[in-house]
Symmetry: C2
Subunit: 186 residues, 2 copies
DNA sequence: GTTGTTGCAAATTGTTTGCACTGGT
DNA sequence: ACCAGTGCAAACAATTTGCAACAAC
């Protein structure tokens, strides 16, 4: 069923649910601690505007859909499933069409302002690119919760892969899978 | 992009292209060294039969679709994308319906005789469960090729996750992502 | 004979695309 | 004014599901 409650209405207030009690597989990311997102409207607006400049610098245009997508991503702060982006955008600006959300996400991805990551179970999640400051993710296969991890965690592995296979690891592109403490216990 | 290559009925499930000119997203794994798969018909049959016993032991039934799916998996030896399983099964037994393939894969998964892994881009791949002997995977995000890696590669990471977050890593459940040597060069 | 499984076809879900039009620059 | 980007609806692929018929035990 994919809990159709990705995020509330209007502004998420403080911290939606730092440690919720996930159902089957909500896959909705919980707010990580360091995930720095602005629940502050001003900050969100500023960020959106900033990206706007960047878009124009690349010859792209700043439009309502893009503003809406960016705002949605900035607000939710964490990783947001594609489907959730669609609904979140609908709240920001109901006139924005789903198709535009997808197109926008792709466009913004190519521009590098948003990045996507693949969650084992539920599909693709998007998040604003934190300048160079990438982090990794681990998802519980039981409850779907996403855990944020320090980027360095896979450094050693990356080194090994590079030297033994010439494989350049992109650590943040897919979420590691496993079982979280809560689910392992319960 | 999104090369519409789903095409379908074609692609004899033999050895696609071990190491050559990767297309859009083949994702079909080349035969890894230790992946032990039987290209030998007798061996395949024996393996299928063996699983049959195991199924019955669990109160499940051995049916044509299941035999076909198992045979297809045993033949291809490596990881096989869901879509590929469907076509491979069609070759083994054309009377088997696609829906049955999905249901069978799920049933066999729950039984533990087959395992699935999530590839970042292309979906889910299945493979026969090698008793305890799991290996990891890394997929090139450019060409889609899947690299098999030793299971121990993530042991350290698993240890860290376990102690710091109580997270039980399941290393083989998702493929790591990155760029393979060939693609990095070209 | 039971009852788990299948085949089929229709329903779902998630994403993409062609086209005419709108709005940003 | 120009054309990138949008809305819309329909195409699309991939997977799921209700149900009656079927076959494994």
């Amino acid at each position: 069923m994919t809990g159709p409650v990705p995020d509330g209405h209007r502004h998420p207030g403080e911290h939606p649910h730092p440690h919720r009690h996930p159902g089957p597989h909500p896959a909705t990311a919980a707010h990580p601690s360091g995930a720095a997102t602005s629940s502050d409207p001003d900050e969100v607006a500023a960020l959106v505007e900033q990206v706007g400049d960047r878009l124009r610098a690349h010859g792209e245009r700043m439009t309502a859909p893009r503003r809406a997508v960016l705002t949605a991503l900035a607000r939710s702060g964490g990783h947001v499933l594609a489907a959730e982006v669609v609904t979140a955008v609908a709240e920001v600006d109901p006139t924005v069409h789903r198709a535009s959300v997808y197109r926008t996400l792709e466009a913004l991805s190519e521009l590098g302002v948003v990045q996507h990551l693949h969650l084992g179970h539920g599909g693709t999640a998007y998040h604003l690119a934190r300048g160079g400051h990438t982090h990794l993710h681990a998802q519980c296969r039981v409850c779907g919760a996403v855990l944020d991890l320090p980027a360095e965690l896979l450094d050693d592995v990356a080194r090994v892969l590079a030297s033994r296979d010439g494989f350049a690891l992109d650590p943040g592109h897919v979420a590691l899978s496993g079982t979280c403490a809560r689910c392992a216990a319960g």
